[in-house]
Amino acid sequence: MNWYYALGDQRQGPVSDSELDALIASGKINENTLVWKEGMANWQPLKDARPSGPGGEAVPPGWIRCTATGRYFPPEEIVYLDGKPYSAAAKERVLQGVMQTGALPGTEMGRNGPPWENRDQLGFFPAIWQTVKGCLTEPAATFANMRREGGLGAPLGYLVLTTWAGGLVTLLFQAVLQLGLGTHSATPQNQNLPFPVAWGAGFYIGWGLLMPVAVVISSFITSGLMHLSLMICQGAKQPFETTYRTYCYASGSAAALQLIPICGAYVSGIWGLVSLCIGISKTHEITTGRAVLAVLLPTIVCCLIGVFVAVAAIGAVAAAQGAHH
């Protein structure tokens, strides 16, 4: 049976069932990819067009679902790695996953993104661009397709790259403005230094060089707190690894917006939060409301207390004025 599949705007194929399995295993297509074969009236997502075993037939009793491809195979074609079943069709992806991350590849059918995870096929810069674009403009689809496992190295590398690039631009603008205007806020507190401009310049250079270290440390602390917040809200349906990966791709993509001068940092902050909330909801498979609650829990609590204090203060003033009259 020959299949055609859609990749971007292009029709690809024809390919056989086994070739289709290999494409799924390599991560080039997933269960949402539109496919078509002779006899079908319209193009359909793969999961609807071929919902069962190879060839579209019903799954015979005793067949086992391959962890990497999501397809069913007879037991003799299955090997168990770390207690999970893998088929021969997934061999390439398993090897690639182990070589790249030291871990077995994603265990979920339909989750093989974001593009940064497939940078070997896409190329380095196209993978960055497509990931930034996907996370910012189509966060729901991108995070619904994100692998929830697969190590921390790839997302961390992406976060460091984009945040460092964006941060350096922001730092450069700050340095030019502050050192140029003579407002040296970077100098230590309560100290009258003999060469404030040199000290300030040194601070910015040092900060620029140390930024990747700070990004790595803060990424773990922030995502750790976020996972704790998710646990409090009963929204942690996946392990910490998933929260960390989501944080890296959402924040890393938003950090690229800092390349826009002056307003980039503000836009990045807001857009990053939106992307993060959507991402958490899609990767942990919880409602958007719960994801927003978990991400913004500390801020929400502080704001509620602030509103309470403000209302109490206004009430007290009004009461005092009433008593005066």
Partner: protein, 136 residues
């Protein structure tokens, strides 16, 4: 709660959090040593009341100077958290150095989870009430 070896491909939390906490502490020490500017608390500036993390930097500074009493009184929860981090780092360093089995909570009963959840929220709110009462 079990003590077991890491599974292939499983995250090494001990190595990660040991490195992160040591890096963060080193960064904080350097920042305070150089007396670099500390960002003011927006919540405190807007409302005049302490936020749940107000005093955490001063607690750290007192801890670096081994003034334990002042550190505990400034932000008790931050002080306890720093102590918890030190204990965890000791545990992580030992299991990593001697390649010992790791402590893992593979399945937490829902009732226990809810108790831990409510206790955590209660402790954070109680600490906050203390900070506001002490007018930090």
């Amino acid at each position: 709660m079990t003590w077991r070896r890491l599974r292939p491909g499983e995250l090494d939390h001990e190595a990660i959090w040991l490195a992160v906490s040591i890096g963060a502490l080193a960064g904080a020490w350097l920042w305070l040593y150089l007396r670099l500017p500390i960002p003011p608390c927006t919540f405190h500036r807007m409302t005049g009341f302490a936020c749940p993390t107000c005093g955490a930097t001063r607690t750290l500074r007192y801890s670096f100077h081994r003034d334990w009493w002042a550190a505990a009184g400034t932000n008790p929860l931050a002080f306890l958290s720093y102590g918890g981090v030190v204990l965890y780092d000791l545990y992580a360093a030992i299991v990593l150095a001697f390649r010992l089995p790791r402590l893992r909570f593979d399945a937490i009963p829902k009732r226990i989870g809810n108790i831990v959840r409510c206790t955590t929220i209660g402790v954070i709110l109680a600490n906050w009430a203390w900070l506001v009462w002490a007018k930090l």
